[in-house]
Symmetry: C2
Subunit: 212 residues, 2 copies
Amino acid sequence: MVLTGGIILRAELNSVPMSSSFNILRKTITRFTPFPEEDWEMLLSHLQIKTLKKHDLFAQEGKRANEVAVVFEGMLRQFYLNDGEEKTTYFYFENHLMGAYISCLTGKPSDITIEALSDCTLIVFPYDKVNQLFAESLAWQKFCRYLAEYLAMGLEERMAGLLMLTPEERYRDLIAGNKTKILERIPQHYVANYLGITPVSLSRIRNRVHKK
Amino acid sequence: MVLTGGIILRAELNSVPMSSSFNILRKTITRFTPFPEEDWEMLLSHLQIKTLKKHDLFAQEGKRANEVAVVFEGMLRQFYLNDGEEKTTYFYFENHLMGAYISCLTGKPSDITIEALSDCTLIVFPYDKVNQLFAESLAWQKFCRYLAEYLAMGLEERMAGLLMLTPEERYRDLIAGNKTKILERIPQHYVANYLGITPVSLSRIRNRVHKK
DNA sequence: TCAAAACGATAACAAAAGATAAGAAAAACG
DNA sequence: CGTTTTTCTTATCTTTTGTTATCGTTTTGA
């Protein structure tokens, strides 16, 4: 199973100086679809750098979300509040497109909260403003279409995993697809939520999987 | 939990004569975004009526899919093949947009199969042809964008249910949201797959839920 | 630096789900 | 029709997960 929290925009984004990150974002968009110079200039004028401290919230349940971001540095988690309990359903890492996207789309209060798991640097833009500005831009509509389709594909794959695999299989898939050591830095009970099981159960599965 | 197999285009679609169903499709598209007359004429020329007998396949695992359809009449199920076992993950009913959409988007062989659960009448169009034809149409790009976003929202909701609810809660949600009696006509082991449990387990849950 | 909080492993028990099989009921089909 | 297949329930047994609690360890933050 793949971590489908967000859309990975480009692997090199975090390895270049911040000053050129906007251009890399541009190249990324261009890979999806041609993006005219004047459109880009307009988008650029709305991009901002935003920093979060660990535990800061990027989006909050009950509040209408309007910001969409690219994670330049750091990692975040997305969770639902269920009877006062936090249920982590997503992780966002560097180069992921990130945000309470559904709240942005619908304009309704968000069901989810997004919290920084580490200090983060983000490239942010206001969704409604930019989307209105580009309402008649073919390039922008195509770009957003591809984003949504990409997102749907990731969700579909994740859903298939939840329906068809056992928790142990999901865990094995998760660590198999985890080239980096990034998962090891995430508290295990968050990963357990992500897998749809309890922390205790994940601990047992880890015992089973890693011992032999 | 909601049956998110497809996008419900319009509730009245099946209650009008077939001859005007194309126009209802048009009104539906127009609700998402303005759709110029000439675009519509071009789309119309690619729409076809297709009928399936019960057990016929609309899409097949391993074969590249290219047709997208609106279900005019009937119902279908979508399943994965897992070690020779069929795992039903979706149902499509009247007015749903339906197809092996991911295979259409990627051009790769489909992972899923779509089978008619009853005799069906479909409004079909060839995805790649129409999509190429409308590559530069703002209306079409917007429409496809909204479709993908709608799809992603449904998938997200379903995933949240799978992660956070127990099988019994998922079953309760399913029947609570089932105004029609349509679920009762679907073989229970398909529904069990859809809920991510075994048929035997669903039978026990039904016993628990309905007895008192 | 030190106390408090968070984290992870483990144990014990209860509850639920999976696997399998058997039998009844319903549906499909010639 | 009547036979065959499919579907559903029920029972038994095993495995897994959930729940709760305990106990070191690590991390956090004042």
